[in-house]
Symmetry: C2
Subunit: 355 residues, 2 copies
């Protein structure tokens, strides 16, 4: 398949005719640490990013904020790519709310989880909420595996690479200087300091539930649960995202889920990110294929899309995995995906007044 990097066997193994896409939205106080994320036009807006992404996926516009989520200098959310992919291949979408701080104006599956704490100074979430999100995820994932031959799970959670780094470390995988970033200038030192403060506060539990409760976020047990439930029901799973999904894989491995029917699907912008090492991180966790799509966004005439290829944003809201699923289902290449993304950009960014 053109424009999807990965072994031929892996691509064949995760080709699907009836994929379903699930977007898990979450929030943590960790994301409010200044300098950690640009997922939001300013720090006060970060809590709107994930619900606005969910609204954008469904409606092509947002309701909880008057504009499309963007970085402070106006680079748009990767939900733009995800929506274009889902529309191009008529892939069904479900939104899961696991700890969103602002509720999206969409029908969302509630996992009964609160937003996560700031791990530098407090636990991320109560153990019972980790367990509930995992259990609800399993319940949902099993049903989705009945409905679909590939469950693609993405996330929208600002600041998620820092909590990923913390959980990976607690579970024995050193992710320092390997996790990705929505900025070209990856703030590794800040992330490492936040995680060091967290460990200083509460040690390094090897138990995955404890690790998530202390250092993770509400996205992780939700995604791990959905994936585990789908796999246990005989289904196949694509974790759609970057280095955060390495942390989810580590959790799944620790809770005893066999990973033979799981893969990671992402963009070439994260897979090739020289400020990070997704392949190395995943390899340190398990032998799971990493598929990466080339969306040819560097060749786009739209500056907001070129930015994805220039080291900004790169991935998120399952953009890479959704694109791979769409390319495999609808048999289209990266060029065609770029055109679909450009049409979405024109409809949602260029035709709306900037504010």
């Amino acid at each position: 398949m053109g424009d999807i990097a990965g072994s031929r066997q892996a691509i064949a193994r995760f080709s699907a005719s009836s994929p379903v896409f699930v977007c898990v939205i979450s929030h943590t106080a960790t994301s409010e640490i200044p300098g950690l994320t640009v997922a939001g036009a300013n720090p006060g807006m970060v809590k709107f990013t994930s619900p606005a992404d969910a609204e954008f996926l469904h409606y092509g516009r947002c309701r909880c904020i008057p504009v499309v989520p963007a970085t402070p200098d106006g680079k748009p959310t990767p939900a733009l790519i995800t929506r274009a992919a889902l529309q191009a291949a008529s892939i069904p979408l479900l939104v899961v709310d696991s700890g969103a701080k602002v509720k999206p104006a969409v029908p969302a599956i509630s996992f009964g989880t609160s937003p996560g704490g700031n791990i530098a100074k407090e636990d991320a979430m109560p153990v019972e909420e980790v367990e509930r999100a995992l259990a609800y995820g399993r319940t949902l994932g099993a049903q989705l595996a009945r409905a679909s031959d590939l469950v693609v799970v993405g996330e929208s959670i600002p600041g998620g690479t820092t909590t990923a780094l913390a959980v990976l470390g607690a579970l024995g995988v050193d992710g320092r200087f390997k996790v990705s970033s929505s900025m070209p200038d990856n703030p590794h030192e800040l992330k490492n300091r936040v995680v060091a403060s967290a460990y200083a506060r509460a040690g390094k539990p090897d138990n995955p539930i404890e690790a998530v409760a202390r250092y993770g976020d509400p996205m992780m047990p939700a995604v791990a649960g959905i994936a585990a439930g789908a796999i246990d029901e005989g289904g196949r799973v694509m974790l759609a995202g970057g280095t955060q999904m390495a942390a989810v894989l580590a959790i799944m491995k620790k809770i005893g889920t066999p990973l033979g029917r799981a893969c990671i699907g992402t963009t070439c912008y994260v897979a090739g990110d020289r400020s990070a090492d997704l392949a190395g991180l995943v390899r340190a966790v398990a032998r799971v294929p990493v598929l990466a799509c080339d969306l040819h966004l560097g060749e786009s005439a739209k500056p907001g899309l070129q930015a994805f290829a220039g080291g900004f944003v790169k991935e998120g809201v399952g953009a890479g995995g959704a694109s791979i699923a769409a390319m495999l289902k609808a048999r289209i290449d990266g060029e065609k995906m770029r055109k679909a993304i450009e049409r979405e950009y024109e409809a949602s960014i260029e035709r709306r007044p900037a504010t």
Copy 2:
């Protein structure tokens, strides 16, 4: 197809290889009017019935109450039949919470709706909530039509035939003495009195949104929206239930949804209920096929199952529609369904201590 009553064309038209089942759970204060429903062991328990049904569908046992929902004399919830059907044919399940008073311990899609009022003395719900439930339903239904070739929608809402009667009347269909009941001794007079009080309070608006807001319940716009969204996306829909679904059809017709890809799926116990007239009610609304399955429960050795054939409970939680979808997908007849239901009865009722 053996054991499904309906025209051969209609059965062929609604045969599906990848049906999905959605259960909408709701509550109203109308259901707390003494004598109106037996969906609950006692009046204080009625608010637990629909969340407990949702839990039973997923887990085969309930969490918000220690027992399986039952009538005061111990006749079990029809969720037993629904669960057996979904399991027999591996049909995926999603739960929608549209106004449940007690939240179920399952991953449920929230429609942001409050429980309904007692229509004898107050409006059922605000107009905005009717509109939101309808809009969220459309959004969800469109996605489900992408995932599935038949969207089967059932409900669990105690007292729902009374609000159905009220909404049908407001929309020009006289349902008096035609709506069904969970009791063999159908309390028509009481239902008519409640509805007459409602009309005396607030007139008979012909507008479907207003009619639901004044006299309906939060289940109706949710189910109507899901069905309309699926149909608009090109999908087919089975409204799984009895006379309440005639009210949903009337709403769909008034909001301009074409009904050519919709049918009603129910049990022969409701379709043949001599204290009601489902076929007549549906005919008064639109030319939509009514499929009814014979589950041979009168031949069961289990008294709790025989009761369904003896005029008790009859239908609910989409039992009839789920059974028809299962029979058509897995190519099994009513006898095989009865055996599956008996196994479910043994596992969930006989093997658990009664309390």
